[in-house]
């Protein structure tokens, strides 16, 4: 098992991926910019490599060509035999696994930062696996440094066998998700904010490499529970919309009995869960194809142990 939760050496091989979804423009344009002018990604002890993860989807400004690239980094897909009619993203995932992995091996990149946008009103959000202690430290520090808007941290708890996203190829990784921004649209404020968050992330990795202490801490996070589907007719057509009272209320508490859908026929559908949940990705455009109206999370406090203090890394 090569992906330890805690790095014991400086992180030297770092990648920043944009365009994992070809119509999420902050990452697309940042990646394109850095591919022409990578200076911004250099630090004394490492240089981060920019990657345009899904060039074919980016070229046509679509989320994907055949299948969602960010669901294709499972061991099954990565070790599958190539076939001539496989989806483009399966071929591409294998290429990226060669470039940045192989996943679960000692040669894999140390850290991968994946850049995304959402049409949902999620502000600044970090998404990661709660078992990645190093990435949790970065999120904590980023939260302290960037306050307008205050970043939220969404965590999944997945074993190595279950992980599927591009950031799981490296030993450590996380996603920066900024919204709301329509697909195919580039907004300057989110672009600047994404650029600044990437810079801060690389600065923190540099600090770690230089032997800075990262002591233990506690942090409030939103832990993924489950997805809620849109209501559908028997024919598979949408039967209602996200209720106006739920629209744009990402990370706000959703109580049992509160309205969640407004049907075309006029009536409201109420949330029937047992407890308060915190919905995210409310009415995300990309999730219509997956039939997901929103994801439910619970607010929990996690305790994260300290990172080992490294002896300072030499400049590279």
């Amino acid at each position: 098992m090569c992906s330890l939760p805690i790095p014991l050496e400086p992180l030297c091989r770092v990648a920043v991926t944009g365009g994992t979804h070809g119509n999420e423009m902050s990452g697309v344009y940042l990646a394109r910019h850095w591919l022409r002018a990578p200076g911004e990604l250099q630090r004394p002890s490492f240089s981060a490599v920019p990657v345009l993860a899904n060039p074919a989807a980016t070229a046509v400004c679509r989320r994907h060509i055949g299948r969602d690239l960010n669901r294709t980094f499972t061991n099954t897909f990565l070790t599958s035999k190539p076939t001539p009619d496989e989806p483009y993203e399966v071929t591409r995932a294998r290429e990226l696994n060669q470039l940045l992995g192989p996943k679960n091996s000692s040669q894999a990149f140390d850290f991968l930062l994946d850049l995304h946008n959402t049409t949902a009103n999620m502000g600044t959000c970090f998404i990661l696996n709660v078992t990645d202690i190093f990435a949790m430290h970065l999120c904590h520090r980023l939260q302290l440094q960037h306050s307008e808007p205050r970043p939220r941290v969404v965590v999944f708890k997945l074993s190595q066998e279950e992980t599927f996203s591009i950031d799981s190829v490296a030993k450590h990784g996380m996603t920066i998700e900024l919204g709301p921004q329509p697909q195919g649209v580039l907004q300057a404020n989110l672009f600047s904010r994404m650029r600044s968050l990437v810079a801060s992330t690389l600065d923190l990795i540099e600090l770690f490499n230089q032997g800075t202490a990262f002591p233990a801490f506690e942090m409030e996070v939103y832990r993924f529970l489950s997805c809620t589907d849109f209501p559908h007719t028997e024919d598979g057509d949408l039967a209602g919309m996200v209720h106006p009272q739920l629209q744009d209320q990402d990370f706000e508490p959703l109580q049992p009995g509160a309205p969640i859908f407004q049907m075309f026929s006029g009536e409201d559908v109420l949330y029937e869960g047992d407890s308060t949940v915190y919905p995210v990705f409310i009415n995300e455009a990309a999730y219509y194809e997956k039939n997901i109206a929103f994801m439910k999370t619970e607010k929990v406090t996690v305790s994260i142990p300290a990172l080992p203090v490294l002896s300072p890394a030499p400049a590279h």
């Binding site: 400004c61 049409t119 600044t124 195919g184 649209v185 907004q187 672009f191 744009d248 075309f264």
Partner: protein, 353 residues
């Protein structure tokens, strides 16, 4: 697996994706009936045949879902004496939730495309345009539908917008004035696209009275309940107006503000045709509904956007539909897109990378 939109097409067509800047203009409406095609109050022909189009762009979902709903249950859109037909214009694009399959349906209703010989080689949207012209036209003929409402969404912050193609169309100006007044205090803007070269051959142009309805901001591929409610209200007031008109109600002379298209502004581009600067954050206005959330410190009711901000909103309207490919059926418009480099305001608009 790679779709037919080649890189070359993407770059070439990106130059066509231009953005607009507008100036407010006063419009004085004369009640004079000297204009042709204006139905008389009592003695002229009443309005009879109306169509409501959704899905002209397959990923602009409000119109798609309203039309689908009305096809199931059309009670809401019925008025005595009127035949109101809801219709999905680009079903293949709707199915794929894309703006279009081969080319923009809302640009191919010119007589040249409508008259082309039918063949499998024609882009899907041109073939579809010809079908629609048979059903609701023919364009410029006596038999064409009286009014077509074409329902659209925009990602830009344009609120409720009514699109007018002819500044001399008294009937539509009265209708728009009525809709605006009925919607108040919800703002409703009139956008006049009458321009010798920038006017385009819209789906609705086959009717005697074409009406564009544009509501935003809404991301492509997303259905927002609040936006749907606004568009629904616009249609309701429009149909009420027509009903009142047919019943002989008086509509005294009125004056209404409109925003008239002047020219379009493209993004600066690098040698590969990729955009190299983006709209300045000062110009980009946050959608009001999202300002109520936890992610900004702003509160308060909807602010009326200034014309300059409206310009910005329209700057974004068509600019990022980057999945558009070159369409051989597009109107020859390459020379008509003007870059406003001499305008100081345009310089301020852009934030370089």
């Amino acid at each position: 697996m790679i779709p037919p939109h080649s890189k070359k097409n993407f770059i070439t067509h990106s130059r066509y994706i231009c953005t607009v800047y507008m100036r407010k203009t006063e419009r004085r409406n004369r009640q004079s009936r000297k204009q042709t095609n204006t139905p008389g109050k009592m003695t002229g022909k009443p309005i009879k045949k109306i169509a409501i189009f959704g899905g002209t762009h397959g990923n602009e979902l409000t119109g798609v879902f309203l039309v689908k709903h009305w096809l199931q249950d059309g009670a809401e859109i019925q008025r005595t004496g009127l035949e109101v037909k809801p219709f999905i214009t680009n079903p293949r694009a709707v199915k794929k939730c894309m703006r279009y399959i081969d080319c923009d349906l809302n640009r191919v209703f010119d007589l040249e495309n409508l008259g082309k010989k039918i063949s499998e080689d024609l882009p899907y949207e041109v073939r579809r345009a010809q079908e629609i012209n048979h059903l609701f036209g023919p364009k410029d003929s006596k038999g064409s539908y009286d009014i077509i409402f074409d329902l659209h969404n925009t990602t830009s912050n344009m609120g409720c917008t009514l699109i007018l193609e002819d500044s001399k169309n008294d009937f539509l100006i009265q209708m728009f004035h009525y809709i605006k007044t009925s919607l108040a205090p919800l703002p409703c803007y009139i956008y006049l696209i009458e321009h010798p070269s920038l006017k385009y051959a819209t789906t609705r142009s086959i009717a005697k009275y074409p009406v564009g309805i544009e509501v935003g901001p809404q991301p492509q591929g997303v259905l927002r309940a609040d936006i749907l409610d606004q568009m629904r209200k616009m249609i309701k007031h429009a149909l009420d107006f027509i009903h009142h008109f047919n019943e002989g109600k008086e509509f005294p002379p009125c004056t209404t503000e409109a925003y008239k298209i002047m020219e379009k502004v493209d993004f600066p581009r690098n040698e590969n045709g990729e955009i190299s600067a983006i709209i300045h954050p000062n110009l980009q206005m946050k959608p009001q509904s999202q300002l109520r959330g936890p992610h900004s410190g702003k509160t308060g009711g909807r602010k009326e956007p200034s014309p300059f901000t409206q310009m910005a909103a329209y700057l974004l309207w068509t600019c990022m539909c980057v999945e558009k490919a070159v369409c051989p059926c597009s109107a020859p418009h390459k020379a008509k897109y003007i870059i406003l480099t001499s305008s100081p305001k345009a310089q301020d608009l852009l934030l370089s990378f």
